[in-house]
């Protein structure tokens, strides 16, 4: 008895839950920090764009002709766009649209997918069979192609873009949650909980679901990155809103490609913005995965 007690008293480290443990590892991981910095930057810009932006996003603030588009200067850090608007302002505002489209489409897709996955995972049997065949079919089409199809079917516009991206992401979450639930359901700790008499409902809600959700959080973070890229892609292809006053990175890219020789930076800035945002969520998501994975635990 005393030996075990001594063992147990010597603390490995000021202890905590898996969450706290993950947090500790996250803080020590430079990749996670880089990701977090980019994400915070992106979200802060998105939220504060109206106050950060030096000019209105939708009004010309200088003279431009198709052959002479002023580049970066002290007044206009990123120069002007083809309609004489401040490019820096528009990139800042673009973060806002990107975030809104990304988050809304993610939430839609995640909710739909999780419901499907829950249905399949909780009922099993033929429900599972039908849902998973559907999911397989959806996953067999490349994501962006699928989104283009859905958006085109819905007629372009922001709503169409968000729904299209949501639909594309749905099967990913459905499969993830269902797989996780199946894996947890057969796990020893669920058997152990059953053995000590925990009721089925509490096992699903208190054990299986929370343990399945970590990977959903990770997937959500990663999916936000692809949603932002997909949204830009759809906008680039002209499937987004056709209101030219909306500063959207993908659309900004598309609108300036005609001036690629005279004002190449106009494509660089929104392009970089897309990369930074997507990279931030990807790095954060990957390091979250690592931090939360019990296999990586000491």
């Amino acid at each position: 008895m005393s030996l075990a007690q001594m063992e147990a008293v010597a603390p490995e480290e000021a202890g905590g839950s898996l969450g706290r443990d993950a947090w500790r590892r996250l803080r020590r991981n430079p990749v996670a920090i880089a990701g977090a910095v980019l994400v915070v930057l992106f979200v802060a810009v998105a939220l504060l764009a109206p106050w950060l932006a030096p000019y209105p996003p939708d009004k010309p603030v200088g003279q431009v002709t198709p052959t002479s588009i002023p580049g970066p200067s002290a007044e206009h850090w990123f120069g002007l766009d083809d309609l004489g608007r401040d490019e820096f302002t528009r990139v800042l505002w673009g973060a806002r649209w990107s975030l809104v489209i990304g988050v809304v489409s993610l939430l839609l897709g995640m909710t739909g997918g999780l419901l499907l996955g829950l249905l399949a995972g909780a009922f099993g049997g033929w429900v599972d069979g039908v849902v998973m065949r559907l999911v397989d079919m959806m996953l067999s089409v490349p994501g962006l192609l699928f989104a283009i199809g859905v958006a085109a079917m819905l007629g372009s516009g922001l709503d169409a873009v968000m729904i299209a991206i949501a639909v594309v992401n749905m099967p990913i979450f459905a499969r993830l949650l269902r797989g996780q639930m199946l894996a947890q359901r057969g796990s020893d700790y669920v058997l152990a909980a059953t053995a000590v008499g925990v009721r089925r409902r509490r096992i699903v809600l208190g054990h299986i679901l929370p343990n399945s959700l970590t990977s959903v959080i990770v997937q959500g973070t990663l999916t936000l990155a692809t949603a932002i890229v997909d949204a830009a892609g759809l906008a680039f292809l002209g499937l987004s809103s056709n209101d030219p006053s909306i500063p959207e990175w993908g659309r900004m890219l598309a609108d300036t490609q005609r001036y690629l020789s005279s004002a190449p930076l106009l494509a660089v800035f929104p392009g970089l913005a897309i990369i930074v945002a997507a990279l931030g969520f990807t790095l954060l998501g990957e390091s979250l995965r690592e931090a939360l994975d019990p296999k990586y635990r000491r």
Binding site: L3, A4, D188, Y189, G197
Partner: protein
């Protein structure tokens, strides 16, 4: 203990075994095909097991990896659904229980798992893991006092309550698993390889803990192990399992004095004996061939593909039932008496290139 429904499945005359298993089979269907899923066969994990465990005794269940020990243990608690056969616990047939009745009944029969880390929810503190059974069965006493009491019983400090599984060593985790298993004051505990995942240096501590708890709480054990050495000292009765079935069952002492089934003889010959003279005299019995798949159990004697004593008659086509070859000793071998008497000897298989020692995992 303060539980509302304190009616142990009506105590039968104490001469009755606490646990009685008859013809238990657990077959898992194996599916093939993606579009047209069909059953391609069955894994016969448990393939007709009879056993009785008397109250207060320790039944040691031994067999190679994959022979169905865990599945048997889970089927007894009906954590997996038996394909056929009956399990009587305290005289009550667990097959006929509704899920809710089964849930209540499991208060009296608990399990300690093979992998202590996997058996604990990583997101659940020790306190929560130990109060969960109490809550589930409507324990009316002081729960946190009970948690401290349980931790003390398994030799853990009360400070462990607020901690999480990953903060402990393997041995400590198993102590927590044991604390959870005794939380409800059960009568029967199935300890599924309780020490095989642990360091050798820790194994004895856990085995001792199980023994102490048995004395203190009057527990009945089924202790599962994959080698005889672990169960030898703790078991009153030992059952040897091969490919889903018992091939020998006997009191621990008698089994050690003279194993009767060829498989047990081979298992025993793999244990080093400290006495050099005995070690010198005895022969290593090596088994030929790989362990057959539980999807494809050999007909006749299930051991005949590897048996060094195999005879040209009966072995390959007539399944030997578990029979009482000597008083109190059950063997599933047609030739047990002749082998014991020495009139049938093991084929010299030591030079066979495919010969393997028992327990050597097949590639």
């Amino acid at each position: 203990m303060s539980f509302p429904s304190d009616s142990p499945a009506d105590p039968v005359a104490s001469g009755e075994p606490l646990l009685s298993v008859r013809g238990l089979k657990v077959h898992f269907p194996v599916h093939r095909g993606v579009l047209l899923r069909r059953v391609a066969g069955h894994v016969r994990a448990v393939d007709g097991v009879d056993l009785d465990v008397a109250r207060g005794m320790t039944y040691g269940l031994v067999g190679e990896s994959g022979c169905g020990k865990s599945t048997l243990g889970k089927a007894v608690l009906r954590l997996v659904e038996p394909t056929s056969g009956t399990v009587l616990f305290n005289g009550a047939d667990i097959g006929g229980q509704s899920p809710e009745d089964m849930r209540r009944l499991r208060r009296h029969m608990q399990m300690v798992f093979q992998d202590p880390l996997a058996s604990l929810n990583p997101r659940q503190s020790v306190e929560s893991a130990l109060t969960e059974p109490l809550r589930a069965h409507g324990f009316t006493g002081d729960r946190s006092r009970r948690v401290r009491e349980l931790l003390d019983l398994v030799g853990m400090p009360s400070g462990a309550a607020g901690r999480y599984p990953h903060e402990f060593s393997g041995g400590q985790r198993q102590r927590i698993g044991i604390a959870r298993a005794i939380a409800l004051n059960p009568e029967l505990i199935i300890a599924d390889e309780p020490v095989s995942a642990l360091d050798v240096s820790i194994q004895a501590q856990i085995v001792n803990l199980l023994e102490d708890l048995q004395k203190e709480l009057g527990l009945t054990y089924v202790v599962v192990a994959h080698d005889l050495a672990v169960v030898r000292h703790v078991s009153d009765v030992i059952g040897v399992m091969y490919l889903g079935a018992l091939v020998e069952e006997s009191s621990s002492d008698a089994l050690y004095a003279q194993p009767l089934h060829p498989y047990t003889i081979a298992l025993m010959s793999a244990i080093p004996i400290p006495d050099p003279e005995v070690e010198e005299r005895r022969r290593r019995i090596l088994l030929t061939g790989d362990l057959p798949s539980p999807m494809n159990i050999p007909p006749g004697c299930r051991f005949h593909t590897r048996c060094p004593f195999r005879q040209p008659t009966r072995c390959a086509d007539e399944p030997p039932g578990l029979r009482e070859a000597r008083p109190g000793r059950k063997v599933a071998c047609h030739w047990a008496e002749e082998i014991a008497a020495g009139s049938i000897r093991a084929a010299a298989s030591a030079h066979d290139p495919t010969a393997t020692e028992v327990g050597t995992p097949s590639p």
